[in-house]
Symmetry: C2
Subunit: 261 residues, 2 copies
Amino acid sequence: MKKIYLAILIAGLIQPVGFSQFEGYKFIDLTYDFDENTIFWPTEEGFKLTVQSFGHTEKGFFYAANKFCTAEHGGTHTDAPIHFYEGRQSVDEIPLENLIGKAIIVDVTMQCAEHRDYRVVVEDFLDWEESHGEIPAGSIVLIKTGFGEFWTDRKLYMGTDERGIEAVNKLSFPGLHPHGAEWLVNERKIKAIGIDTPSIDYGKSQLFETHVILGNNNIPIFENVANLDQLPAKDFSVIALPMKIKAGSGAPTRIIALMSK
Amino acid sequence: MKKIYLAILIAGLIQPVGFSQFEGYKFIDLTYDFDENTIFWPTEEGFKLTVQSFGHTEKGFFYAANKFCTAEHGGTHTDAPIHFYEGRQSVDEIPLENLIGKAIIVDVTMQCAEHRDYRVVVEDFLDWEESHGEIPAGSIVLIKTGFGEFWTDRKLYMGTDERGIEAVNKLSFPGLHPHGAEWLVNERKIKAIGIDTPSIDYGKSQLFETHVILGNNNIPIFENVANLDQLPAKDFSVIALPMKIKAGSGAPTRIIALMSK
């Protein structure tokens, strides 16, 4: 029997990555489509697709191709540290190690349902830790406000469906309090953070202090993250791969979660 | 001793994904930057970034943000099956299972160095199999022509640095022969394919038969894949996450490889 256990153990250890890495896991897409309904900041034009070809060509074959224009910050996207902090990483410079790894969900849906300008505080993280243990160093922390259910209703999701600079003062949605950001960075050494709202700072923010703290510490931020209601509190991984825009302050990003079947 | 083996074995089996999935692995970025030098088809304008803000605002904080315009097909990107086959998957519809998994490299650098209009044939895959065993069903196959070393020199990389429709007839670079594509699909049940050239069809193609075969079979194609010289012939995984463009015929894509340290 001893030999059998040993054989199984060794077989488990030497499985080549290609043949075992993703077996037994399922993928969950945490990304919204980019289309004419994708939510951007009120000052941005949104995602514009132009069809270049869709149909059969003179030579007989079918051919579809498009081009598009977009702001870096809209839909499901990454804020690179440089977005709010000079001299920090641009989106192409974020190490892949910061974009991939173990993740947790901190659920503040109740708090945000009561008060749509709620800011997540240290106590919310301590509450999570009471049930699940200390947030492991190097975690990707996803904040679930429940506002994902409002997508793509701009008024419900961000507090206003108006456009332009005037609308910015009417924004209303929850975010992460600067003290919460400082604590996650300094006390729990997180490597990235995400949220199911348009911004990690709450809608009423004037100085974007949470962005500044995270940027200064080279922590990438994922915004408008989708489908957080499909994830457990822990025991899953996240892979967030932003478009590799040279010197970009952010980029459209495909984010997925990976968990045991 | 039996109990110890059993304990280790069970510990190995029940490790939660978040804490073990990526430990002991390194990531290799197979993606080129998007910037003004990124190579697009001669008929396309290329990647255009517009800086909206870069500097300190009136309120005191630093703020950087950009917008950009691009064709779906340029730089490191995915061709969705619909690109050359009506009714097949658009880029947002490609199952994540087709974009992630075990991968192999088929190296045809020698053939392409001798003849820059080389097309990869079944024999090249059989040669690979003689050394490495049968290509496993469900593989992501990456073709290494060696042309990655020419990036970003358009003349060396694609045969012409001219722009516009006239330049298309001057294209010259290697690709995959339609017979090779048919064989990979039917005999080896691959789930995706990539190449380090601007197109899976060689530069002189007029009818894009290889695209048509792969599109018809809902096989996504990755083009302008970078850094294939950093990968072994097998025993690694690929994660290719395209921007989620609704009904897109393709999209800029971040592609990475994952292998044991």
